[in-house]
Amino acid sequence: MNFFHYASPATFYPLAGRIARACAIAAAVLTAGGLYLAFVVAPSDATQGEAYRIIFIHVPTAWMAMFLYLVMAFWSALALGFNTRLSAMMAQALAPTGALMAFLALWTGAFWGRPTWGTYWAWDARMTSTLILLFLYLGVIALRHAIVDPRRADRACAVLALVGAVNVPIIYFSVRWWNTLHQGSTVSLTAAPKMAATMLAGMLVMTLAAWCYAIAVSLTRARGIMLERESGAAWTRLAVGTA
């Protein structure tokens, strides 16, 4: 199979539709299963009681917020390096989902912080860096909307996303050395998890659900962008059935 076959919007559009549908179904099933594990099967936490259950939303969204920025930067690099239209459209489609994930991570974190730390907001390292990550997403989205010419917007946003990607680790470490209150990571690849197996299972299922959701939503958004950008082309008329 030639990978570049799908580098054109005309051929990628139907494929994206199929993947988005499959991922949407998977996201629904995984969310239902994950929430069942989270609220029914998983035991209460020894110290945090029931309040801890918000981590089943909080941790997956926080992971996705960071990961999606890297994915966006990856597509941006391809868009700048190879001048491929589809890569820029993918980067554009990912930004709102990434911003949503960062916002949800902050929002759920505030609701988790209130009962456990006694405050909605603290200037803790991870909270602060997630807030700045949200600003970076919003900057990319705002720049996109400020530029009328889509080709200039593609390349300008790609430069900004790449500069941001270089900065994200620097921001993360600077903020971390500045102030840390956040509890240490309980899940790592190198050590045995310090949590009950059902809790871990619930969190992993919810993480998979967040992945599937992000793929489904951003591919659907990318399909809309493709139709909008290529509205003069023959394939778009075929795709929407007006030919």
Partner: protein, 239 residues
């Protein structure tokens, strides 16, 4: 005036080395800056006024002001740098000079570096020189004031370098001023943390060198990367 200066200097240049381009852009932007002294004065006044407003907003309480001082002086430096960023490319963009600069045989990153250097010499450097004086307003001791000046001397070039990318990306856009703030201020965070941290460390009786070293590392990284990113952003804006 500016385009005449451009043509005569370009014709005189014997070869088009990167260093020559840097020197040319630096000299030209400094000349333009010197001929619009009022603009420079306004930026410095902005810095002084913002710094002087904080004691009015809180209380003229010495320990409180000494604690707030490093942060206020740094945030005001960030804002003053942000305010002066449009000067970097917008004037040249409006009158078509920037297009001629891009078409010149010098490598564009070198020309952009020269413009950034001129921007720093006319904003970052005076702010760094002024900060120890303003630090006295906040009751900062002598040692923290010198560290503040040193931190600003290392940190403000980073602000000019990163800011150039944002200034080029927002060239000619509607509402580019507030958009520039949204794009650039989050990227300024590490500079703010290390810069204010250095002063804070000295006030607490610790060494400032770790913070200053990290600030210098940021500067080196920005020196290597930012001119190229800003140059490609200028090309994108002119396409």
């Amino acid at each position: 005036m500016t385009s005449a200066a451009l043509h005569s200097s370009a014709a005189l240049a014997p070869s088009h080395t990167p260093f020559g381009g840097l020197r040319w852009a630096l000299a030209r932007d400094l000349r333009v800056a010197v001929r619009s002294k009022g603009e420079l004065g306004v930026q410095l006044l902005f810095y002084i006024i913002v710094v002087s407003l904080f004691p009015l907003a809180v209380a003229p309480d010495r320990p409180l002001l000494a604690a707030l001082g490093p942060g206020v002086l740094w945030v005001a430096a960030l804002l003053a740098s942000l305010l002066s960023l449009p000067r970097l490319f917008a004037g040249d963009f409006a009158d078509g000079t920037l297009e001629q600069v891009v078409l010149s045989p010098y490598p564009l990153p070198a020309l952009v570096s020269g413009k950034i250097a001129a921007h720093w010499l006319t904003t970052g450097l005076p702010i760094s020189a002024l900060a120890p004086l303003l630090g006295a307003q906040y009751g900062l001791e002598e040692a923290p004031r010198y560290v503040l000046a040193a931190a600003l001397l290392i940190g403000t070039p980073v602000l000019s370098l990163l800011g150039a990318i944002g200034a080029a990306l927002t060239l000619g856009l509607r509402g580019s001023g507030s958009l520039l703030a949204l794009l650039i201020l989050p990227l300024y965070v590490p500079v703010l943390i290390f810069g204010a941290g250095a002063v804070e460390a000295v006030r607490g009786g610790l060494a400032a060198t770790p913070h200053l070293s990290l600030l210098a590392a940021c500067l080196l990284l920005a020196l290597v990367g930012a001119p190229f990113a800003a140059a490609s952003a200028v090309r994108i804006a002119l396409d």
